[in-house]
Symmetry: C2
Subunit: 143 residues, 2 copies
């Protein structure tokens, strides 16, 4: 059904669209993360791609993880940082972040504001992997 | 190659990303349109979806067309209108526009500013169709 779904930000300033549910980022306890929500903006059944919007509250972070599929992210609001392997990059509104397959990555919101980003994925994709203690050691040593 | 490509708006205010080419919307003369450009933000070879950014200058418009694939559009800047079949909807920043298969549609920027939007498509998709005189008659009569 054709539609124009309005962008209707909440009084808190959080990004929200009409007729779009705010979902859990992941099941609690399934992986380490802090204060992240998910909205599925587009997942047309005839299309192979999906567009999701993730919002990380001030001081929050996504899971440190990796997966086979390329990560394609566009920052839609706010400021924060992204870890890509052993590097950290400051990020802000409208930056494009591309992360290679099987590269460890994690998004952080700044302490004083939320970070919101679009993420493009294929409907068919592999599940994220979590780091082992051996994976973490070199990552921790580099920052 | 992992990367953070910066959003670097031009002095004119037009949206532009580093290392992303501004392309023609379509070949001149191939279809009616006015003042539209295209940037491909993400087209990872391992992914089935692509994310493109279209920018319509003040007073410009995209081609009136239809196609089999569902249209999934997020307005990234500005204000304008979208025709969907016989309806017109005002649109502005962050609205989500979904257009059913084989539904005539056209985007217009307002007279006083540009309209920029993201469009999600599958890599494999059908080509747009242009309206015949018979298709246009009912569309013109309704607005």
């Amino acid at each position: 059904m054709s539609s124009v779904r309005r962008f209707a930000p909440e009084s808190s300033g959080n990004f929200r669209w009409q007729e779009v549910d705010r979902l859990r980022y992941k099941d609690e306890g399934s992986a380490p993360f802090k204060d992240v929500t998910r909205q599925v903006l587009f997942a047309p059944p005839d299309q192979a791609g999906e567009l999701r919007y993730f919002e990380i509250a001030a001081g929050g972070y996504s899971t440190l993880e990796r997966h086979q599929h390329t990560h394609a992210v566009l920052i839609l609001r706010g400021r924060g940082a992204v870890r890509i392997g052993s590097e950290q990059h400051a990020i802000h509104e409208h930056d494009l972040v591309t992360i290679d397959p099987l590269t460890w990555h994690q998004f952080h919101a700044d302490a004083d504001g939320a970070l919101g980003f679009l993420c493009l994925v294929s409907r068919e994709r592999d599940r994220p992997q979590l780091p082992s203690a051996d994976d973490l050691a070199p990552l921790r040593g580099s920052t």
